[in-house]
């Protein structure tokens, strides 16, 4: 297909019309360049956004008790109630779609001491499964485990900020004892947040202790405050939410239709919406990108058509010497593809260079903003863009090629 003669001819034609070729190719160049830039920016937004949720299972939901609003089974509305640790086992048995069910018990914010230093921090009782839902970025030591839970150990998994306040710089908190409410807790690990915002700094001021220990200290019996639950990877978080609500309503004598009595927040739902928004952005990007690419292709097609008209005599000679219509069509189409490819490839190159350059600058100056980070274009997109280019070159060459193939040698060769 691509033999040397054709290449030679293609380049001689391009060379003969340098300025015109350049101006035409600019259209395709710009089209693909814009596509890459827009895709990169879109990816930057997306990565930035999802980074806010890094370390947090995207298919998780929270569920907590509130005040009842409907009378049920002889009970008055306006009743307050609480979930219990017993609920966990029931939920595990009856909601097979749930992956992790983690009961949580924040026992308040209070002064925490280490030797002479102290600070006010939130203390939360957690089941080890919680760290499957919200994966901590462990700095040193370990997370809480099942043995801690079963033996009601007085151990603590503390936030980075807690360690900063209570311990000297360079000191390893692991193995040290901190004091809260008259109880000594052995520090087993320190974690940091993946993010760098308000919510993250709050998380870093938290001390996690085993749920069982928290229950004992708070002296609240079997009560827990709320559940963090994830759906199994292939299951819908919404189904899990519905089932869990139903079971909890039954167990705590809440009217089945009393929606206000049980509060819940479904992150999966939020993610779905956000994903939809980004799909929209991506669709728009491709729409605009392809649109300007089409404009470029029409430009190339036009120029090719003019070139073919100018080369009427040449195609006539070729036909007289034995060129088949097929060979003429393939010549013109290859010319169009080469032109499109060169222009488009430069567009890809410059576009990727710009996007990656911006990424490198953001990285180097640690300037990744909260909602914009790591603008990149995946390699697969570049492959797709290249395929689109070949295809567009083909389309652009189609009309001029048919024109060339239909040239009658007689008319072409008549002396002027």
């Amino acid at each position: 297909m691509f033999d040397f003669d054709k290449w030679q001819e293609i380049f001689s034609i391009i060379e003969q019309n340098k300025l015109r070729t350049f101006l035409t190719a600019l259209g395709v160049f710009w089209g693909i360049f814009m596509l890459i830039i827009l895709l990169g920016a879109g990816n930057g937004l997306q990565t930035g956004f999802f980074h806010q949720f890094k370390g947090f299972a995207s298919n998780s939901l929270f569920i907590w008790p509130s005040k009842t609003t409907k009378p049920y089974e002889g009970l008055q509305p306006g009743r307050r109630y609480a979930f219990s640790y017993e609920d966990v086992q029931h939920l595990r048995d009856q909601v097979p779609e749930a992956d992790y069910i983690s009961p949580r018990l924040p026992i308040g914010t209070g002064l925490v001491y280490y030797e002479t230093k102290n600070g006010a921090f939130a203390v939360e009782g957690d089941h080890p499964d919680y760290f499957k839902i919200s994966t901590p970025n462990i700095q040193t030591g370990r997370i809480l485990n099942l043995a801690d839970m079963q033996e009601r150990r007085k151990v603590a998994f503390i936030g980075h900020r807690v360690a900063e306040v209570l311990f000297d710089e360079g000191q390893d908190p692991v193995g040290e004892y901190i004091r809260y409410n008259g109880n000594y807790f052995k520090v087993v690990g320190v974690f940091k947040s993946y993010q760098n915002n308000e919510r993250a700094s709050q998380a870093e001021q938290t001390i996690h202790i085993p749920l069982s220990t928290a229950q004992q200290i708070a002296n609240t019996g079997d009560i827990i405050r709320y559940f963090a639950i994830t759906a199994k990877p292939d299951k819908s978080a919404e189904v899990v939410e519905k089932k869990v609500r139903k079971i909890l309503a039954e167990r705590h004598k809440v009217h089945p239709e009393d929606r206000a009595a049980i509060g819940s927040f479904n992150i999966a739902k939020l993610f779905k919406t956000i994903n939809l928004v980004f799909s929209g952005i991506q669709f728009f990007t491709w729409f605009v990108g392809i649109g300007s690419l089409i404009a470029g292709i029409i430009g190339i097609s036009n120029i090719m058509l003019i070139t073919v008209k100018e080369r009427t005599r040449e195609f006539g000679v070729r036909k007289a010497l034995g060129a088949t219509p097929g060979s003429i069509i393939s010549l013109v189409i290859q010319e169009s593809i080469v032109l499109t490819m060169i222009a488009g490839y430069l567009g890809i190159l410059v576009g990727v260079f710009c996007v990656e350059g911006l990424n490198a600058v953001l990285e180097a100056f640690n300037a990744n903003a909260e909602f914009f980070r790591n603008p990149t274009v995946p390699f697969s997109t570049i492959i797709v863009a290249t395929l689109i280019l070949v295809f567009s070159g083909l389309i652009a060459g189609l009309i001029p090629a048919t024109h060339a193939a239909n040239i009658k040698p007689i008319e072409a060769l008549r002396a002027e």
């Binding site: 040449e314 010497l321 088949t324 002396a415």
Partner: protein, 226 residues
């Protein structure tokens, strides 16, 4: 070699039609060097186009070397042109971006002969027309006579049965014209049939016989020049 039987051809002109060739009967024997003369509008270009398989005819039969040339697909026509015929034109029609050697080699390209091989053969044919030294030159660097000799080499390279020349000396001065005619004669001596369309009597006089065409009818086969 060439046999035309009752060839008719008309063109649509507006609503009516123009009958350009009327029952043309003609035979050209192998190894002949003939000329076709006629005033403009006599149909000689149309005749040449039909003989060159560049155009269809309406009725009749046309044979090249006993092969009927009728209702061919574009591809077949291209292959027959390549195999049977060599063309020489008034305005040379060399491709401007190819050098002399590449121009000569072009018919072999369409026979799918490899690049090295066909360029080697092209140089041989350029040598034959006395232009071996000019192989690497572009057409713009050649004189009119040299261009036409390159064109003749190109017409010869596929070893055709017939060479069709349309006013081959129309753009050349007298001396160069005679040189080109000498070349044709030399080629003819090697056994290749040559048909020259011309309106110059001096040129026609250099061929073995002349066919006069008038208003689409063959008027006479004149052998007096021979």
């Amino acid at each position: 070699m060439l046999l035309l039987k009752n060839i008719n051809k008309s063109y649509k002109v507006g609503k009516g039609s123009l009958h350009v060739l009327k029952n043309v009967q003609m035979e050209v024997k192998e190894g002949e060097l003939i000329s076709i003369m006629g005033s403009s509008g006599s149909g000689k270009s149309t005749l040449l186009n039909i003989m060159g398989i560049l155009d269809d005819y309406d009725s009749g039969e046309y044979y090249i070397d006993n092969t009927l040339i009728k209702n061919l697909s574009q591809k077949q026509a291209a292959q027959y042109r390549n195999r049977f015929l060599g063309f020489v034109f008034q305005s040379f029609n060399l491709l401007p971006f190819k050098n002399a050697m590449e121009n000569v080699a072009l018919p072999l390209y369409y026979q799918k002969v490899g690049r090295r091989e066909r360029n080697k053969i092209a140089v041989e044919y350029l040598d034959k027309v006395g232009l071996k030294a000019w192989a690497e030159h572009l057409p713009t660097e050649l004189s009119g006579g040299q261009k036409q000799r390159v064109a003749i080499a190109r017409a010869l390279i596929a070893q055709p049965k017939v060479i069709l020349a349309d006013e081959p000396t129309g753009a050349l001065d007298t001396t160069t014209s005679l040189e080109v005619m000498d070349l044709f004669k030399q080629v003819n001596k090697e056994g290749i049939t040559i048909i020259i369309v011309t309106h110059e009597r001096d040129i026609a006089a250099l061929t073995q016989r002349t066919i006069f065409l008038k208003d689409g009818v063959i008027e006479s086969h004149d052998h007096s020049f021979a």
